[in-house]
């Protein structure tokens, strides 16, 4: 009863406090945007010209103030109301509990997606299958990086280097030695793993953020070398006309002896895209399967032990050098596979595709998904890459929204979308462990 009686007074305070807060936020927005938005510079005759855009500044400040006021009134300051985003939005953690059904269900959807799409949206099926290929590429990269960051706890900011090694391995091997995709795929993986060991070796002694910055540096070095080694890689112009994959020797062309001709189908461009879709799906599933298997082997347990405590790990007689190098190598190998696939899908690669932003996106997918969680990577890829495509009509605002999404999801769920872990070792009953109890990616 007492609480009910006190309510009106509290309500008034909320309004006043929210108003104050909103006005402050509005003034701050006014200050922030005044110069950078209010005065637009454009190159004109005789140097830069100024155009004033004060109305924009006022609008932005007003939106900030009103938005903040409404959020305060309805969410943040309201007694008993939702305290933060986590009370309003769905809880992905349940996915961890029902994964017994969810996993196979999602797998089923993934396997049948091209046909579902062809039935539901026949006009745009090509676009959606292509989007599926893109999402799956990131799922695969996420799963590959998850081995390094999520399982072994080594913070790697240069994962894109191995993606690039894989892509260039295939492109160069096919260009200089006329090798096909299926021969080059394992070679690309082996070469990437090899580079993983080469780059992993010097950083064995580093930890945490030092490791992060050195891996970032290595990623940039590989990109700069690709950019400048003109004789081999054709520099910024990239490599064109990378051969497409064949289906047991059948090309996806209109000609006689092509895929469509052999099976007596009418030629359609979508055949090849569906084929690519199934290649990346198979590659991604192999990545997942290998990871899940490795977690149960001594090496996988050694990775997780390394993540939790390096010193304890060493005193138990685990060879940390081999453990770290194997994590780097296996993670890199999957990056290499994905790279070779990327090259064959695009038909054209250039160093432009392997910038730091790409590493950041892959790392963001792993962290947003919940480090070490395989399911989380899938959710995060769907949200980030699929969401990115959904905002297609926003044009230039798209990347901005992407960045904001990254910030918001992280504030909403700092431990990632799926923040429970399934232990690999358990007594009698498998209980989900809260992610708060798992040390993650601190780079020990």
């Amino acid at each position: 009863m007492a609480a009910l009686n006190a309510a009106p007074a509290a309500e008034e305070n909320i309004v006043v406090a929210s108003l104050k807060d909103a006005i402050l936020a509005g003034v701050l927005a006014l200050i922030l945007f005044s110069i950078i938005v209010g005065l637009r510079t454009d190159a004109g005759a005789g140097g830069l010209q100024i155009t004033t855009e004060w109305d924009r500044v006022l609008w932005m400040a007003a939106v900030t103030a009103v938005g903040r006021f409404l959020l305060n009134i309805f969410f943040w300051k309201r007694a008993g109301g939702p305290k933060g985003l986590s009370d309003v939005l769905p809880d992905f953690n349940r996915a961890g509990h029902v994964s017994r059904f969810l996993g196979p269900l999602m797998l089923g959807i993934a396997v049948t997606l091209p046909f579902i799409v062809m039935v539901l949206v026949p006009g745009q099926s090509r676009y959606y299958v292509d989007l599926g290929v893109l999402v799956l590429t990131y799922v695969m990269l996420g799963w590959g990086l998850n081995i390094v960051v999520g399982l072994a706890g080594l913070l790697d900011l240069g994962y894109v280097a191995f993606y690039a090694v894989g892509a260039y391995s295939y492109a160069l091997l096919s260009q200089y030695f006329d090798l096909g995709f299926w021969v080059c795929l394992p070679l690309a993986g082996i070469l990437a793993a090899f580079w993983g060991i080469i780059l992993g070796f010097p950083v064995l002694r580093l930890r945490g953020d030092y490791l992060a910055i050195v891996t970032l540096a290595f990623g940039e070095i590989i990109r700069i070398v690709l950019l400048n080694w003109f004789e081999l890689t054709n520099g910024p112009n990239g490599i064109t006309q990378i051969p497409r994959p064949t289906f047991f020797g059948l090309d996806f062309t209109r000609d006689e002896g092509g895929f469509a001709d052999f099976f007596g189908l009418e030629y359609a461009a979508i055949h090849r895209i569906i084929f690519l879709y199934y290649i990346i799906l198979a590659l991604a599933l192999i990545t997942n399967w290998v990871t899940l298997r490795l977690r149960k082997l001594p090496i996988g347990r050694a990775w997780e032990a390394l993540r939790e405590d390096e010193i304890a790990c060493r005193s138990l007689g685990i060879n940390t050098t081999n453990t770290k190098l194997s994590a780097f190598a296996i993670g890199a190998m999957f990056g290499g596979f994905a790279g070779a696939f990327f090259a064959t899908r695009q038909g054209f690669i250039s160093p432009e595709s392997f910038t730091f932003l790409e590493s950041a996106i892959i790392l963001a997918i792993v962290v947003l998904g919940g480090l070490g969680s395989q399911m989380g990577v899938v959710f995060a890829s769907l949200v980030m890459i699929g969401g990115f495509e959904m905002f297609r009509n926003l044009e230039e605002f798209r990347v901005l929204v992407f960045g904001l999404l990254m910030v918001l999801i992280m504030i909403w769920k700092p431990r990632g979308l799926v923040s429970t872990r399934n232990p690999t070792v358990f007594l009698k009953e498998r209980k989900a462990v809260s992610a708060d109890l798992v040390s993650q990616g601190e780079g020990h």
């Binding site: 701050l28 922030l32 454009d42 830069l48 924009r56 580093l206 540096a217 400048n228 790392l363």
Partner: protein
């Protein structure tokens, strides 16, 4: 010899810019242990604000020397002020809610903020490069060689002098003022600092404000030195400056400046004597080499882990 001295001057100038940005990284790292990936973009925002103010106030090289210097001082102060507001806001929005969360979370929001700032500036100011006619021209020949004269331009003098003055002011703030004391206290032990009555949140905010102000100075100098900026300059400069901070020993303020100057020198000497294309490779390579043999950087304190 003359060529060497010339490269030395150019390298010191570039190094001063990197050093000023690196201080922002190292301060934040020292106090909350996170890589503030958006700091490079704060530098870019500072550079843009300075550029806009210079164009808006109609400052040209034609004005008299005293007027020009005063106007540039005004621009610099305003750029520092506005950029600090940006630094403060970024901390408030993206990092404070994650205080006490696990370490990778703020790293991801920092990368997110970096993407946001870059694209925001691209949208509101356009993607094309912004050329600015040289404001400070002229210089002195300090060494007469047989076929090569060593020159130091006025703008280089301006940058070096500003850096030295700022470093003096900054050292004073850190060592002698109440703010500096609370900053150092928070760096040593945040919990203990709050127990002795230091407002930790406010101190952290002020760290971001100070770092952003120094980044604005670096952005201003970059603008005057190169005369061309675009929304993408923050990334490369940020990575280099962070490299500098790590090289000098992250968390150490003199280390950041030393690292910045070393990176600047390595870069200029490499482009001067070997190849321009691989200058970044050289900088990163030396970073890797230093870290492998001295894992805590040149002036950093070795991390001792107690079990």
């Amino acid at each position: 010899m003359e060529y060497f001295v010339q490269q030395l001057i150019n390298g010191l100038t570039l190094g001063s810019i990197y050093g000023l940005i690196a201080i922002g990284y190292t301060m934040v790292y020292g106090i909350i242990g996170m890589i503030n990936f958006a700091h490079g973009d704060i530098f870019m925002v500072g550079s843009f604000i300075a550029m806009i103010l210079i164009v808006a106030l109609g400052i040209t090289a034609g004005a008299g020397f005293i007027v020009l210097i005063l106007a540039l001082m005004l621009v610099l102060l305003m750029a520092m002020l506005f950029t600090s507001a940006w630094g403060w806001t970024v901390e408030r929005i993206a990092y404070r809610p994650l205080r006490g969360s696990f370490r990778l979370a703020p790293l991801i929001t920092a990368i997110g903020m970096s993407i946001v700032l870059q694209n925001f500036v691209q949208i509101v100011q356009g993607a094309r490069v912004k050329p600015l006619p040289p404001l400070v021209s002229g210089g002195y020949t300090i060494m007469d060689g047989n076929n090569f004269d060593v020159q130091i331009s006025n703008i280089q003098i301006l940058i070096l002098v500003t850096t030295v003055v700022l470093m003096g002011v900054f050292t004073y703030i850190i060592n002698k003022t109440a703010l500096g004391r609370s900053l150092r206290a928070c760096e040593q032990d945040r919990k203990m600092a709050s127990l002795v009555g230091i407002n930790v949140d406010r101190t952290i905010s002020l760290t971001f404000v100070l770092g952003a102000a120094l980044a604005a100075v670096a952005g201003f100098m970059y603008l005057l030195y190169y005369g061309v900026i675009d929304f993408y300059i923050g990334f490369i400069a940020g990575v280099k400056a962070f490299t500098a901070a790590v090289l000098g020993g992250i968390g150490s303020l003199p280390g950041a400046m030393l690292g910045g100057i070393l990176i600047g020198l390595i870069e200029t000497f490499w482009s001067g004597y070997f190849s321009v294309e691989y200058k970044d490779v050289a900088a990163f390579f030396i970073l890797a080499a230093v870290l492998i043999f001295m894992p805590s950087g040149l002036l950093g304190k070795p991390e001792v882990e107690k079990v």
